[in-house]
Symmetry: none
Subunit: 225 residues, 2 copies
DNA sequence: TCAGGCCCTGAACGCACCCTGAAGGCACCG
DNA sequence: CGGTGCCTTCAGGGTGCGTTCAGGGCCTGA
């Protein structure tokens, strides 16, 4: 079992390597983001332990880049406990799991083992509905062959709708899934974001993928409109 | 896919259930630790979402007990961010993964899916009567192969009739189910809406799915007319 | 055959729902 | 520390849809 550790803090990196070797993993270490990215690309690791905060390229970016390039090695993200960290964002960029610092070796190794057991994640299916296409791994969206730039919220909303093609999703369901489950703000925000999506995905292409079902919710046409 | 949610905070439990159901999981909820333990023992769930802090028995204990008894259903632990929580302990007692509150649905569902490696979710059954078809999920209606546009009320009425094919439903029953049970308006509204349905579903197709049973109510022909 | 009741029909009203544009606030980046 | 982009809030306007209403037709029982 070969593992790559990408971690700039020398002490921690050395400790990790020592610990993992003791657990029976062949372990390589990269101290810089760019090195890590390169090594991950060039070698068939069974798993990658990836720090979030790195000089050069940060963990998110490395993760997203690898996935974009078709590298599906399981990734375990290391994150600082106090920092601003959105677990959803980590998972969305293609990480398979994460551990917050400070962590125990027991937890780390347990998770790493689980990750390896699960194997190299199958490439997450690209979602499509007609000529509308969304790739959850690389966080990119296309209308036919045209790449469309979406913000994080817009993507979350689109992804949610695309995971239920043809079904009507109520405003409440949308709020609970795309925003927090206890979101207490103005529900009108859903309408605003539906509009944003329409402006980017429908209007320029003279399509109407997103239908309003008055009094019920919104539906993404399963043929993309 | 059957999921058990053990969570004492009613709001969160309800939100979780609703969300998971929307994601295609058949979801049961237990509000007490003891109930949860019992349900987990007695039913073949595909996964269990387990809160750590519970009245009666806490999550650790439930987890450990189940494992001790040979129940190996995948367990996803819910933990408070600020609380005393040792991830190693959770994993040691037999949990397979954990999520810290507050969490986003995206993260939760991603982890749950990973946990049970699920396939495509089932959708609610499509109702049909002869060549009349109604899909509750997409809120769409067809007469043979033709899509028919209905408003919310029209659909509610049609759905009610289609759930009792061949039975005569009295105007009062209809009022209580399709409108509010304490609806105090003009009962003539039922007639108005029956007419709307006939105009959209029967007349253009020269059929008569909806029969008037004078003095009693209305009946949807089980062969669609 | 007549009276009464039940149902049908078309139109009109008003509100709730959704759309829309703009602006404030916050985080991130230079 | 200023600039930019994104998330969110807010208020105004349009209209689809639910509901009401009145008039007329048709069935039923005496």
């Amino acid at each position: 079992m070969r593992v790559l550790v990408v971690e700039d803090e020398r002490r921690l990196a050395a400790g990790l390597k020592k610990g993992l070797v003791a657990e029976g993993f062949a372990t390589d270490v990269a101290l810089h983001g760019t090195d890590g990215l390169w090594m991950a690309r060039e070698n068939p690791y069974d798993a990658i332990v990836l720090d979030l905060m790195l000089p050069g390229i940060n963990g998110y970016k490395i993760c997203a880049t690898l996935r974009e390039e078709g590298v599906w090695t399981p990734i375990l993200m290391l994150t600082a406990k106090d920092g601003e960290f959105d677990e959803a964002e980590a998972l969305d960029t293609g990480a398979d799991d994460y551990v917050t610092k400070p962590f125990s070796y027991i937890a780390l190794v347990a998770r790493l083992r689980a990750l390896i057991r699960r194997g190299a994640g199958e490439r997450p299916a690209v979602l499509d509905a007609g000529d509308l296409r969304f790739d959850p791994a690389s966080r990119r969206t296309w209308r036919s062959e045209t790449l469309v730039e979406l913000t994080a919220r817009e993507m979350a909303l689109l992804e949610f709708l695309m995971r239920h093609p043809g079904e009507v999703m109520s405003k409440n369901e949308i709020l609970e899934h795309v925003w927090d489950y206890d979101f207490e703000g103005d529900p009108n925000i859903v309408e605003v974001y539906i509009r944003h999506l329409r402006n980017k995905l429908d209007r320029p292409f003279e399509r109407h993928a997103i239908e309003t079902v008055r009094g019920v919710g919104y539906r993404l046409a399963d043929d993309g409109g």
